[in-house]
Amino acid sequence: MIERHETPVLEVEDLTKHFAVGSRGLFGRGKQTVKALDGVSFTVSKGKTIAIVGESGCGKSTLGRTLLRLEQPTSGQVRLDGIDVTAASASVLRAMRRKMQIVFQDPFSSLHPKMTAAQLVAEPMLLHKVATKKEVRHRVAALFDLVGLAPYQMDRYPHQFSGGQRQRIAIARALAVEPSLIVCDEPVSALDVSIQAQIINLLTDLQAKLGVSYVFISHDLGVVRYISDEIAVMYLGRVVEQGTKRELFSYPRHPYTQALLSAVPRPDPSYRSQRIVLKGDLPNPLSPPPGCRFSSRCGYARDICHQQEPQLDAASPSHRVACHFWKQLGSLSGRDTGVPATLPANRSE
């Protein structure tokens, strides 16, 4: 390949995952479906990071699991290095798993308590036969060094490590098989802020050094702004806005993105009371509102929003918004006064 850096590592096309839930009556009649993912598409280039942002229940973790085919998608396609993951046979998939790894939120439950740190990091290498038993110890030591752990810690058990160190082990374990993609599912959410910063710096350093791509799933917009190149905002299984970091943070178009950004508490007492406070809760995913799924909480919703689901519309070649009124809304956000909204907010609920 000539322009290797131009080839996306990961291509996701119209990915959909529905779960059947609740069996009312015998033989599961009257089952309902949760559309946990509904037509999600994006690509990730080599050495880049896409962040998937949203609140609990928006489908971001299901997305991470479906990308790795830990969940079988209902429809759509995931291609890793050009190979279709969704249709791969068991043996092909097994080989492909080497190329894609995951780091979970809770380093207390994702590491086997009866394996030493060295065994945990060595396991994927032995499984995928990327190292022989003889050289494995040497490679584990190199990985320990890479993620900032000391060699004397190799034979310790997970409970002897702090939360931040455990997350380093989980990262070393993911890196052991030299993947091209790591799905990071809220990797720093369980950590204190000073430790969180250490892990984030580690992830960015590793990316610069190894050229690995990340799908970074998070609810924390500060972390996302720091780590990602591109961002997709999800709401009830759909991407409502997607764009580069600059587009999304400086010119957010979707009212949900705007509300999300303004709701983040700033470490600045003079920022108080500049927030858009959304009314109500996330609707039940079993019965999302008709039309635009955000319409029940949107301050700008009009009749059409309750009837017709908006499609992702291109605001720029890299910036897409799923809102009927994004053009009228302008890009009011946080402190950015950009284009003022010409669409008045609804007074009533």
């Binding site: 709701a263 003079s270 009371s273």
Partner: protein, 337 residues
């Protein structure tokens, strides 16, 4: 809403006055201080924010104020908790039951584990009301409905009959706040009240707490690890590290001139939504466990400024500028950013 400019009248008696308060952890022969000689005051209608990372003693401090520390292994080792001038530390369990939920109430991080799953929310509010007043059950019920309405729950007549599992996380926290406020407490202790909630729901709950505070004049102690939440809610801030207060200041002063290297470190590690950062500046190392606290300044192994004095002598909490106290040998000597 923006009442942080209200100046507390000189000499006005604080609602809650904590003096040299200490909590210890005793296991076998080792005694580890988890809260170490803490002093602060909380005034009517004001919010005191307590910030620190896990293991700094902030939750033990709040449990200690309520005399709810799990004993053994923990116990209150000394000091005073003056509520309207009366010391709670020598109070009996029976006397404390009169105080808890009545004059001081508390809300916790996880509303699902603080609510009883087998009773309706109405029952649980009525229980709190009748424990501390002589209301009839009919009066208590109508008051419970009023309380649910006050905390922003729609259709309270119906919601009062619901069980906690039927409510969302944000709604449950509203119910917890309704229970906590049932008896018009003098002090509300909120321990990470929004940490388990999504950011849009967090914004709702913080708004609610602010408006309730300005309506009722209840003093609030807000415990959080999130400096953003503290900046948004608090009038005065206490920063804790390893069981001690290392910085204490009015909110504007703290964020305008954070003076302790730990406070500066916390702010430097926070990724912000409002600008692009070159690189985060994490604090190296981790919080020391209570049984293994370093000598001198507890922060010295993680501190860039530490020298021989820091390793051997514990810095006192001293007022550097008006109202702004710092426990550091080096700040005030030109290290302020």
């Amino acid at each position: 809403m923006n009442d942080d400019k209200t100046i507390v009248a000189q000499g006005a008696r604080p609602v809650l006055d904590i003096r040299d308060f200490s909590v210890e952890l005793r296991s076998g022969k080792t005694i580890s201080p988890i809260v170490d000689k803490v002093n602060f005051e909380v005034h009517e209608g004001r919010t005191l924010g307590i910030v620190g990372e896990s293991g700094c003693g902030k939750s033990m401090l709040s449990l200690g104020i309520m005399k709810l520390v799990p004993s053994p292994p923990a116990c209150i080792a000394g000091g005073k908790v003056l509520l309207d001038g009366t010391d709670l530390v020598p109070c009996s369990e029976r006397e404390m039951q009169e105080v808890r939920g009545n004059r001081i109430s508390m809300i916790f991080q996880e509303p699902m584990t603080s609510l009883n799953p087998v009773y309706t929310v109405g029952f649980q509010i009525i229980e709190a009301l009748r424990a501390h007043s002589s209301l009839t059950s009919a009066q208590a019920r109508s008051r419970a409905i009023d309380l649910l309405r006050e905390v922003g729950i729609s259709n309270p007549e119906k919601r009062v009959e619901e069980y906690p599992h039927r409510l969302s996380g944000g709604m449950r926290q509203r119910v917890m706040i309704a229970i906590a406020l049932a008896c018009n407490p003098r002090v509300l202790i909120a321990d990470e009240p929004t940490t388990a909630l999504d950011v849009t729901i967090q914004a709702q709950i913080l708004d609610l707490m602010r408006s309730l505070k300005s309506d009722s004049g209840t003093a609030i102690i807000l415990i959080s690890h999130d400096l953003g939440v503290i900046a948004e809610m608090a009038d005065d801030v206490v920063v804790m590290y390893a069981g001690r207060i290392i910085e204490q200041a009015p909110v504007h002063s703290l964020f305008a001139a954070p003076s302790h290297p730990y406070t500066q470190g916390l702010l430097g590690s926070m990724p912000t939504v409002d600008g692009d950062q070159e690189r985060l500046q994490p604090i190296p190392g981790t919080v020391p466990p209570p049984h293994d606290r370093p000598h001198g300044c507890a922060f010295h192994p993680r501190c860039k400024l530490s020298d021989e004095t820091c390793r051997t002598q514990r810095p006192p909490l001293e007022e550097k500028i008006s109202g702004h106290k710092v426990a550091c040998w080096h700040t005030g000597l030109g290290a302020r950013p």
